[in-house]
Structure formats: structure tokens, C-alpha cells
């Protein structure tokens, strides 16, 4: 299959403007008759549903939550990037574009990323107008901070709850459209299949999670904004209900899954503490603005800490290795996530880890507290302040910046991070891979669109911090509302899609069979236990570092586990009722297949880039070795069922504006 990105002609800076001015439109009287289904109500889904509703389309929006406000975008902490250049520090659309392409290790499309950078500023305007309370300075204007992988301050933030505030903005815009009758909201409904008619996406099968009933919904187009697949790993920073089922079901119907092996491991999470654990907690990347990452230089010190014979405070300054500052002096503690994560793993592999499990490094705020304390004392006119005053004042400043994160850390670990450095370790956080889409955000199935984390388009092999919120909202507010017109303008004569068409009845029947099969497994083991085991395999062999032998082995293990699942899993309760175990079973069944595809993609990509680190491909210093000659392409997987090998299709990446370089943060 020849994959065509449908990138418009013209110079990079002209493409989007020209596209917007020439794309086919749908007249207002026709919009009223055209229906669009949006699945998901996070940043990408809520913003798309609200904006499409405002344009006059008839929108149906689906979420498995009890309210659209609970989507996991709400948990994003740090911030959102925008090329506003409010700091006068040399930022520009081009620089944001360049940082994102480079940060993604040159595995994303130039045109898409440039468009993202172009619309970024309008997102901030929109959010402020909605009442999003971004951080401000005393002059009343917006404040900024820095995130990893960049040398300007372009990140807008709302304390440590930027995702919450942005999502509430989008949720409120969506609520307004619901009140106006432009959007019909389906809470507690999970999409279990897409319906294709005449080769186009024309509807979905959704399960009402309260009654268990299957429903058929027709529309002229379907938009998936269903997030990433990080929970394949079981333990991740994703919410418990995040899942790949909606995306995987469309793959089952012929959509392509692009670069599934590109997963982001976030360096600063609270380490795993026991086998019962079902969720990992992220500590925002913004902490690396002020926190210094270190491990003891000597193995015996690390061991003493692991055995609780010593604490971090007893390790003298000269016995500490601030390894990010040492290895990457240009960016220091603010290197991109993939680089920071691998460096932490290397330190722990060398026996320098500081948690009883051996898997943790320190994130230390002592020097920041002292620095801020001195500065604050100076502002207050206190000369020659004593140590206690400095620390008190410094802690106040740090608390103002990161108070809620420090509190969260203390609640979970029982340790006070103002006094004792935080212990952190990398964890699965985000998936750059996702449904293959063209410039229109349309998958290879006509009429099926994918926005936000669930598409693959903008982050290449590694996403920079504060760029997920930017992309979700860019897609939903400013890109999809234009590009969907390109498809719908050819559909103005298509009558209302009848959900009683044979295609819908067939899809419903297949879904019912899937449910019946799971309800009748009749085994002994819980769904949760299978998910946990699958996650362990994925983390061990397809996590922070990968090699061919391990990946082959993991594939075999997954196939065995899947076979055991269908032989010995057990789903309690009834399918005609509120049944979270059945919901889980449907999702875990899809994780086996998605996991296998991730492994095959990781095997195929014989290079190291971004979040994909193949041990066979590294330089003497242990840095990733990319192979632009052979792998500067998007690998899009076509799933053919259990019995057949998936087929990987290629879309070559053409770089006309940036020169491919070794990504160096040294």
C-alpha cells in the first residue's frame, strides 16, 4: 500500500495558510444535516466536539466516563508550549517547530509539526478567553517556564494543574454546545467497534456501561480522540481506564497503526514499591527546572542507602554524581525525557540506585531552596540572613511553585521532599505512536479521523514536555474543524446514515459474540492478573531498552499468555449490567494484539531513536545511534489477524527544511 501524507504544496510556512484558504467548505445549511461522531472527551475530543458543534455540525460525543471532565488529560501537570515569544528570548514558530522535530529525533513529518507550531499561539488566546487561570506575574501578564529539550521559556502553566484547567476550559465549551443542542453527549458509553459502509467510516457500536446494552450510532464521519496505549505496560502514569480498544478496533477493520514501538518513558515518577501496585504517579517535568538529579558516586554508599543504614543527607557533596549535569552540560537536568530516563537506568544498572528495589535516583531541591531563599532575603532587605531563615524563605518559594506536587509526593511516600530528596524512577507515560493519519488527520479509512495522542503525527520518536496538551488542543480547536470539511464537502448529498443498515447489524452481532466469548471463558484467573503479566513482559523486553533476542522471546511469551487467557480467564457478573470486569476483559484482550504489534515494530526498526533504544545500536558513549539512511520512515502496521503476520507499510519522511543531525544535548 502506498501511503500518501497528502501534504499540501508550497513552502513550509505557506502550506497551512494556503490549505485553509483553499480547502473545500461545507455550507451552513448543509452542516445542519451532517452528523459527526467524536469518541473521547479529553483535550482532543472535547475541543473537537465543541468546535464542530459551534460550526453547526450535528455532533455526538462519547466517553466511558461518567462525565467528560474526567478524561485523563485532566492529570497533565506541567504546562503547554506556545510560540508567543512573550519572554523576548528568541522564540518563534520556526524555533518551536525545529525543537519539536529535533526532540522527536527526526521521525515526524515536517509539515504537520510546522502547522502545530503555527497554531500554538492561538490555543493560549483561546484558553485565556475561556477563563483558564494561567500563572501570571505581578503586572498581570502571563508567566512562562522552561521544559526539557529547549533553551527558551515558552511553557504556559497553571500551577501543577495545567491539564486540569485546560480540560475544564474545553469541557465548559463542550457543555455550552450540549446546552445549545449542538452536541449530544453520551456518558458511560464505550466504543467497541467502528462500522464501515461502502469503504467509509459511518458509525460505531457502543456499549452502554450501565445497562450493558449495545447501541448502533450512525454518522457521516467518525473522529477518534481516544488517547494512547501506555496501559499495555499495565504499570504506567495513565489513568486506570485508559485503553487502546477504540483505536485497536479500527485497526482490526483496516486502519494502520503507525510507529507503535515509540513509547515515552518519563524520567520522573514515584518508584514502584510493591507487587500489589496498579498505578504509577508522575512527578512533573517542571521539577527538573529546579531539582538536581543525582546518585552516590560509590556503590557502597548506594548500598548503605538501600539498606537504610544511611540517608541522602549523609552523602557529602563530593561523593555525589549529578550525572545529567556531568554528561549533558549544555542542557543539564533539562535534557529530553528519553535521554534522562536512559541515564537514570544506566546509573541504576551500575548498582547506584537508592531505593530498596535498587531502582531509583534522587531529585534534590536543596540547592534550589538555598538559592531562592537568598534571593528572597535580599528582596525583603534581610542582610546576612542565617541558614534557618534562608531555608525557610526558600521553602516558601519552592512551595509556591511546586507545592501541590510536593504534597502529593509526601502523601504517597510518607517522606517530606523539602527535607529529604525525592526518589524517582522512569515509568511509561505517553505513546508517540498511534493511528496513521495524513495531513488532514484522516486515517487510511475514508471518513475516519484521529486526533490527539491516539494519532502518531507530531512527536516522532520522542515527545517534548508540554507538547501533548498543545497537540491535543491544536488538533481539536484549530486543525480538524478545517480538515474534516475536506471529506465532508463530498458528502453533502449523503442522507442521514441509517443505523439499521446491514453493516451496523453485522458489527453489532460481532461485538455481541466477542462479549459472549469473554463472559463464557469459565476459567479461574482474574483479568487483572493477565494484564499484570502482560505488562511485565512488555516492560522487561520492550521498555527502556530492547534487543532482538529479547523481543523475539517476548513475542512468544505474549502468544502463550494470550492462549492461557482464552483458556483460563474468568469474568464475573453479567453482560447486561454495570460490569467493570467485563470492560477490563475487552480491553486486555486487545492489549495482547497491540503488544505483539509493538514488539514486531521494535524488531523491525534496527536503529535507536528517541524512546526506542535498541541495545545493538549505540555509540561508545551509550548514546542512541540513529540510521537515517534506512529508517527515516514511518512504519505503519496492518493487522491481519492471529494466524497471519502483520504487514508493515512505509511512508518515507522527506526533510526539506531541516538538516538531519545527531541529536546532541551535550
Amino acid at each position: 500500500m502506498q501511503l500518501n501524507g497528502n501534504i499540501p504544496e508550497g513552502s513550509l510556512a505557506e502550506k497551512w495558510t494556503r490549505y485553509r484558504s483553499t480547502v473545500s467548505l461545507v455550507a451552513p445549511n448543509n452542516k445542519m444535516r451532517i452528523e459527526v461522531i467524536v469518541v473521547g472527551s479529553g483535550l482532543a475530543g472535547a475541543s473537537a466536539a465543541a468546535s464542530l458543534g459551534e460550526l453547526g455540525y450535528k455532533v455526538k460525543c462519547f466517553t466511558y466516563h461518567d462525565s467528560p471532565r474526567r478524561a485523563h488529560s485532566i492529570a497533565a501537570q506541567g504546562g503547554i508550549n506556545a510560540a508567543k515569544n512573550y519572554r523576548n528570548d528568541g522564540d518563534s514558530v520556526y524555533r518551536l517547530f525545529y525543537d519539536t522535530i529535533k526532540g522527536g529525533d527526526y521521525r515526524s513529518r515536517e509539515a504537520n509539526v510546522y502547522r502545530l507550531a503555527e497554531v500554538s499561539a492561538a490555543i493560549i488566546d483561546q484558553a485565556v478567553a475561556q477563563g483558564v487561570p494561567f500563572a501570571r506575574e505581578y503586572g498581570g501578564l502571563l508567566d512562562n517556564r522552561s521544559f526539557g529539550g529547549v533553551q527558551v521559556s515558552r511553557t504556559f502553566y497553571a500551577r501543577g494543574q495545567t491539564g486540569q484547567q485546560l480540560l475544564l476550559g474545553a469541557y465548559q465549551a463542550l457543555s455550552r454546545q450540549i446546552a445549545l443542542g449542538a452536541v449530544e453527549m453520551y456518558n458511560r458509553h464505550e466504543m467497541l467497534d467502528v462500522v464501515l459502509a461502502d469503504g467509509k467510516a459511518r458509525g460505531i457500536i457502543a456499549r452502554n456501561l450501565v445497562t450493558g446494552e449495545l447501541e448502533r450510532h450512525g454518522a457521516h464521519a467518525v473522529v477518534l480522540a481516544t488517547g494512547g496505549y501506555g496501559n499495555v505496560f499495565y504499570l504506567s502514569t495513565n489513568a486506570m481506564n485508559c485503553n487502546v480498544t477504540a483505536a485497536w478496533r479500527v485497526v482490526r477493520k483496516g486502519a494502520l497503526m503507525a510507529n507503535p514501538c515509540f513509547t515515552q518513558i518519563h524520567p520522573t515518577c514515584i518508584p514502584v514499591s510493591g507487587d500489589y501496585q496498579s498505578k504509577l504517579t508522575l512527578m512533573s517535568e517542571s521539577l527538573r527546572n529546579d531539582g538536581r538529579v543525582w546518585v552516590p558516586k560509590k556503590q557502597e554508599d548506594a548500598q548503605a542507602i538501600r539498606e537504610s543504614r544511611k540517608t541522602a543527607l549523609e552523602i557529602a557533596e563530593e561523593d555525589r554524581d549529578y550525572f545529567l549535569e556531568r554528561r549533558y552540560p549544555a542542557f543539564g537536568n533539562l535534557v529530553p525525557r528519553d535521554v534522562a530516563s536512559r541515564a537514570a537506568k544506566t546509573a541504576c544498572d551500575e548498582g547506584l540506585g537508592v531505593a530498596p528495589t535498587g531502582l531509583a535516583v534522587y531529585l534534590d531541591f536543596a540547592s534550589a531552596i538555598e538559592r531562592y531563599g537568598r534571593s528572597k532575603a535580599n528582596t525583603l532587605g534581610i542582610h546576612n540572613p542565617d541558614k534557618a531563615t534562608i531555608i525557610r524563605l526558600g521553602e516558601e518559594v519552592v512551595s509556591e511553585k511546586y507545592g501541590n506536587l510536593f504534597e502529593m509526593y509526601e502523601k504517597i511516600t510518607g517522606e517530606n521532599p523539602y527535607k529529604m530528596p525525592m526518589k524517582i524512577y522512569p515509568a511509561v507515560h505517553y505513546t508517540m505512536g498511534g493511528l496513521w493519519v495524513d495531513y488532514n488527520l484522516e486515517t487510511n479509512i475514508p471518513g475516519l479521523f484521529a486526533t490527539g495522542e491516539c494519532n502518531f503525527s507530531d512527536h516522532g520518536a520522542n515527545r517534548l514536555g508540554a507538547s501533548a496538551l498543545m497537540q491535543g488542543l491544536a488538533d481539536g480547536y484549530f486543525v480538524l474543524p478545517y480538515t474534516i470539511g475536506n471529506f465532508l464537502s463530498n458528502d453533502i448529498r449523503t442522507p442521514k446514515i441509517d443505523p439499521n443498515r446491514q453493516e451496523f447489524l453485522d458489527a453489532e452481532k460481532q461485538t455481541q459474540e466477542r462479549i459472549d466469548k469473554l463472559m463464557n471463558l469459565g476459567g479461574k484467573q482474574s483479568i487483572e492478573s493477565f494484564h499484570r503479566r502482560l505488562g511485565r513482559i512488555m516492560w522487561d523486553y520492550c521498555g527502556m531498552s530492547r534487543n532482538a533476542e529479547g523481543l523475539q522471546k517476548a513475542r512468544g511469551m505474549i502468544l502463550e499468555l494470550r492462549e492461557e487467557f482464552y483458556r483460563d480467564a474468568f469474568v464475573p457478573g453479567s453482560a447486561n449490567d454495570f460490569n467493570p470486569e467485563l470492560e477490563k476483559a475487552l480491553r486486555v484482550a486487545d492489549y495482547f494484539e497491540m503488544g505483539e504489534l509493538m514488539i514486531l515494530d521494535a524488531l523491525n526498526r534496527k536503529e535507536s531513536c528517541g524512546g526506542h533504544f535498541r541495545e545493538e545500536y549505540q555509540d561508545e558513549g551509550g548514546e542512541a545511534k540513529r540510521d537515517d539512511e534506512n529508517y527515516a520512515y514511518v512504519a505503519a502496521g496492518e493487522y491481519k489477524g492471529w494466524e497471519e503476520e502483520p504487514v508493515l507499510h512505509r511512508e518515507d519522511l522527506v526533510f526539506e527544511n531541516v538538516e538531519l543531525k545527531t541529536r546532541s544535548y551535550k
Binding site: Q126, Q130, P133, M240, G274, S278, P481
Partner: protein, 250 residues
């Protein structure tokens, strides 16, 4: 540690519910409260029984999905903490822990500890927004907002919409929730334009949903996991009165 769990089980809105006791033997103090419930559910599943249904998602205290009353307190005994962030180190060996759903007429039980809080969505739909369409905004720095004012708006906007305020209130009043949104938007210049209309229509919807009246018990503030202040209620009352007397609508 060993715990006795006394958990409310109910098949559905119109089914009769009851407390059921469960013994749990190997609870680690490092577990989160919900991980402890997972252990219980695994135990129930291994006995071929139906697990306890409860709502949860982000496990980071921000999505507002968890909705249980633990030992008489919404979200449990620890102040400023959602149930998902509560850890077992705050419980003692041998303790009996009572777990029940948020109880209010406007929050019907769906199953066990899961309740229907869609009334909150309908209140927001009644006016909890700024009417600005995509693309209509001016430059973000065009309107300066005083830092303290913005910070106060943020404090109100931090509400996670969990409904603990309703569960904690003897009248099952939703005043804290509604006033938090009214305050958030009223305190900002962007939200001022529609302030009068907003407060009237949100309060009207709140009453339609059957929430009780506020009688200044302030249990809502005490049990709010995000520390939303009852000052917001006072602000909303002022806004409401001002709007009623200056409004031309009936």
C-alpha cells in the same frame, strides 16, 4: 495488617442495598486504599464472586472519579485527600473500615459504591462557561489580570467535581460545587460579562436537580479534598442577590 471491611453492596438504583463484611489479612501499609480494594476484589474473584464496584481512574486526586465515604468521611479521614491518594499507613491493624457510596437524592446509586453524578454536568451546562467560540479570542496578554485575583479564581477553579461536598452536607446541598464555578468565572474579567445570567441559571438548575439548601454547616469545606473555601458560597450569594435585584428576567 488485618482489616475488617464493612462495605455497602447494592445491585442498582431500585434494588435494596446492605452492608457486607469482608476479612482482609495481608494489607501492606504502603498500599493505597484503592489498591487494598483491588486485593479484596481479586480475593472475591478467586472465590467466583462479584467484586465490589467502585469508581476510580487517574489515581492522582485530580479526575474526581472516586466517590466513597470511608468511616463516615467523604474520601476518608485524611484532610485534603481523595480516596485514591489515601494510603493504608493511616489505618491500624485490626481496624474495621466502613465503606459506603456518596449518599444524596440527586446522586442515585448505580451499583455498590458507584453513583450517578450527571446532575453536576447539567449545572455546568446551565451556564458554567464563558461564551466564546473557537477562534474568537483576542491576544492572551490583551487583558491583564491582577495576580492575586487570578490566584483566587484558580483556588475556586481547582474543584474536581467529585461531589464530596454534597455527600458531606446533611442537606445534600451542592452550594460549594456551584459557587466554586461561579466564583472562578466571576473573578476573572473574561467571565464578568455573563456573570449575572450565569449565577441565576446555575442556581435554578441546582434547585431543579433536587439538591438541598445551605444552612452554613460548612462540612463541605472540611471534607473537600481540594480545600475549596465556603467563602465561595458567600460570594455566590452576593452575586445571586445582586443579579436577582438587577435582572430584568423573572
Amino acid at each position: 495488617m488485618k482489616l475488617t471491611l464493612k462495605i455497602w453492596r447494592q445491585g442498582g438504583e431500585y434494588k435494596k442495598g446492605q452492608f457486607v463484611n469482608y476479612q482482609l489479612d495481608q494489607v501492606s501499609e504502603h498500599m493505597s486504599f484503592l489498591e487494598m480494594l483491588y486485593v479484596l476484589n481479586e480475593q472475591l474473584i478467586s472465590q467466583g464472586k462479584e467484586p465490589v464496584a467502585f469508581e476510580h481512574d487517574c489515581r492522582e486526586g485530580i479526575c474526581g472519579a472516586c466517590s466513597m465515604v470511608i468511616n463516615g468521611h467523604a474520601h476518608g479521614p485524611l484532610q485534603g485527600t481523595t480516596a485514591c491518594q489515601l494510603h493504608m499507613r493511616f489505618f491500624r491493624d485490626g481496624q474495621t473500615v466502613t465503606i459506603e457510596p456518596f449518599r444524596a437524592k440527586s446522586f442515585p446509586v448505580i451499583k455498590d459504591l458507584v453513583v450517578d453524578r450527571s446532575a453536576f454536568d447539567r449545572i455546568i451546562q446551565a451556564g458554567g462557561y464563558v461564551s466564546v467560540g473557537t477562534g474568537q479570542a483576542q491576544d492572551a496578554n490583551a487583558i491583564p489580570v491582577e495576580k492575586d485575583q487570578s490566584s483566587m479564581a484558580f483556588d475556586a477553579a481547582a474543584c474536581i467535581g467529585c461531589g464530596a461536598c454534597v455527600a458531606a452536607c446533611p442537606n445534600a446541598s451542592a452550594m460549594l460545587f456551584v459557587s466554586a464555578k461561579v466564583s472562578h468565572l466571576t473573578l476573572l474579567p473574561q467571565g464578568k460579562v455573563e456573570a449575572k445570567k450565569r449565577v441565576l441559571s446555575m442556581v435554578r438548575q441546582m434547585d431543579l436537580e433536587g439538591f438541598g439548601n445551605c444552612s452554613n454547616v460548612t462540612a463541605c469545606e472540611a471534607e473537600c479534598p481540594k480545600g475549596i473555601s465556603v467563602e465561595n458560597i458567600a460570594r455566590m450569594n452576593r452575586e445571586y442577590l445582586a443579579s436577582v435585584f438587577s435582572s430584568e428576567e423573572d
